[in-house]
């Protein structure tokens, strides 16, 4: 092994290591894989990286990732425009869409309030959310329901509380997604926090 890595190799390892979930060892493995891989594979990856930066934008209404100024969900006349679901990340939209259960529109905050990470409400797409609710009111198309689907973490809950306070005067009703037991999960193996929350969220049958 050479005493010093040649510069392009070192730079690629460093770039990989900066990605979330990738440690220095994995970064090295990926780099050496690409060095040995066929030329086409490496070039396809580089092209995909450039395309994702050049062709993907944020939807100007919901801030989900999109390949046009207004995303396919926001421009779909078949969606229920009276219902809005607020999520932290674009991936959450994907997860909810896979269920086919929610027929309304979305709003992506791009994070949750977290002072540790220097993320205050002004760093999220909250102002845009409130403006959206305002505009809907002015257009006489008040949101009947806004579902707050931020994560059930401390940060997600703080964000939900912050949003609920501000949305309540602007929309019909503000709801929060329920937390409970995972389907297929065994009661015996569920942790106490999940069990308690599931009990708190119980409903009549």
């Amino acid at each position: 092994m050479p005493a010093v890595l040649i510069e392009p190799v070192a730079r690629l390892i460093e770039s990989f290591a900066r990605l979330p979930g990738i440690g220095p060892k994995t970064a090295q493995r990926l780099t050496y894989h690409l060095l040995r891989a066929p030329d086409t594979e490496a070039r396809a990856l580089a092209a995909a990286l450039i395309a994702v930066r050049e062709q993907v934008v944020f939807c100007e209404r919901c801030f989900n990732i999109s390949d046009r100024p207004v995303c396919s969900i926001c421009s779909d006349p078949g969606r229920d425009a009276a219902r809005l679901c607020v999520v932290e990340e674009p991936l959450d939209v994907l997860a909810l869409e896979r269920t086919g259960e929610f027929k309304g529109l979305y709003h992506v905050l791009h994070g949750a309030i977290s002072p540790i990470d220097g993320v205050g409400p002004e760093r999220l797409k909250i102002r845009q959310l409130l403006e959206r609710a305002d505009e809907a009111n002015r257009a006489g198309a008040r949101f009947e329901e806004v579902v707050i689907a931020t994560n059930p973490t401390l940060e997600g809950e703080a964000t939900a509380m912050y949003l609920a306070e501000r949305l309540e005067p602007l929309v019909g009703s503000v709801t929060r997604i329920a937390r409970g037991l995972p389907v297929g999960g065994d009661l015996e193996y569920a942790d106490e926090v999940t069990l308690i929350r599931a009990l708190q969220g119980r409903r009549a049958m």
Partner: protein, 398 residues
């Protein structure tokens, strides 16, 4: 109280269960150990060898099997032997007295990958860390704890948390929530102090702060109640001539008459609102509370001799043993990490007597001659050897 499921009744009405033994222990790539397989019998197990040979690592392996984490580091990846990319600790816990062939035994298995990913299994089924303690309960007595009375308050808070955990379902979860919400709150307070954030935002963190903080305080207060009797008894046994030893909860949010821990914390948070924004940090809560040792009502930190401190710490350990025995209906596995050299012959005698009553105990020492001759005679001896191959253990006379 038949039919009651309240947690507080668990200690009041213990059911006696057959004592268990750690029957085997297998290590792969844990610190100095590349590979080790031990079969352990009942009674005291004496582990001896030079410093840094791997005696404490052996106890650490058992703590890992009981708690799912080390008592020496929070970074699991640090435990992995240099040059390898995983570690694994396995153990079998079985009923004492049963023949090895007929004893069913419960298999515990903790492994950590280089990235820090941890897997815990009981009888081959993935479980949470709390499931381990249901099978294997340990009490560890280490030389660092000799500073408990006069050392910094963090030592005593850690001891309180570790004592309160087994007696309170969800204690660990409250502690995790509290730690996280406290650092969010402190970050926000710094931003408020520096004019970068608005004070109105604090209230989004108040509910989890009060809920988890009050749960921690309530659990600690209840623990001190439970501990009072066994502690007084143990102290009387060790130092019959001294005034009684008591423990008090030193808090910055003392309860007014009729007040709950949550009310008290909420009131103090309100009272310190100006000051905390000015300081940029949370000034009240269980992270600032302390455990106070008193003899005859006087605070031990201010006047205790070395001997009195050691008596108090030993009494606390013996009380912990009693409390866990009552909780589980059977005694825990006692792990003594080179503490005999820290105690004088009289105090050693009390510990030796207690070891003799336990189904199993692991005792490490660098100097076997320091140990009670009777204990040495009855103990099964293991010698730890460290060489270029790593650490290994041989059976043999101490």
């Amino acid at each position: 109280m038949p039919g009651s499921t309240r947690a507080r009744d668990r200690v009041v009405a213990p059911r006696s269960r057959p004592p268990t033994l750690l029957r085997s222990l297998a290590l792969r790539n844990l610190r100095g150990y590349a590979s080790l397989d031990l079969t352990l019998g009942p009674g005291p197990q004496l582990v001896w060898g030079p410093n840094a040979a791997g005696k404490t690592t052996l106890l650490e392996a058992i703590v890992l099997l009981a708690l799912g984490r080390s008592h020496r580091t929070g970074a699991d990846a640090e435990l992995i032997r240099w040059g390898t990319d995983f570690l694994r600790v396995e153990g079998v816990v079985g009923i004492a007295g049963a023949e090895e062939e007929e004893a069913e035994g419960v298999a515990l298995d903790v492994s950590v990958q280089a990235g820090g990913r941890k897997r815990i299994q009981v009888n081959g089924v993935p479980r949470r860390p709390a499931a381990l303690a249901e099978q294997l309960r340990t009490v560890l007595f280490a030389p660092e704890e000799m500073l408990l009375v006069v050392g910094p308050p963090t030592l005593r808070r850690t001891a309180l948390d570790q004592l309160a955990g087994p007696h309170t379902p969800m204690y660990g979860s409250h502690l995790t929530t509290y730690t996280r919400v406290l650092s969010q709150r402190n970050s926000l307070l710094r931003q408020i102090r520096d004019g970068e954030a608005d004070r109105a935002q604090l209230r989004y963190w108040d509910e989890p702060f009060l809920a988890s903080g009050a749960a921690i305080v309530a659990a600690r207060l209840r623990l001190l109640e439970l501990l009072a009797e066994p502690l007084a008894a143990a102290h009387l046994e060790i130092a019959p001539a001294e005034d009684p030893l008591t423990l008090a909860y030193g808090t910055n949010a003392p309860l007014l008459p009729g007040e709950s821990p949550r009310d008290a914390l909420a009131r103090r948070l309100h009272e310190t609102a100006e000051k905390e924004a000015w300081n940029g940090t949370t000034l009240v809560g269980p992270h600032r509370d302390d455990l106070v040792f008193r003899i005859g009502g006087r605070d031990l930190t201010t006047f205790a001799s070395r001997g009195q401190q050691r008596t108090a710490i030993l009494a606390l350990k013996l009380a912990e043993l009693d409390l866990l025995t009552a909780l589980d209906g059977r005694p825990p596995l006692l792990l003594l990490d080179d503490v005999f050299s820290e105690l004088d012959p009289l105090r050693r005698g009390h510990l030796v007597r207690r070891i003799a009553e336990l189904p199993q105990a692991l005792v490490t020492t660098t100097v076997p001659e320091d140990l009670d001759p009777d204990l040495r005679r009855r103990a099964h001896a293991w010698r730890v050897i460290a060489d270029v191959e790593g650490a290994r253990i041989e059976e043999g006379e101490a």
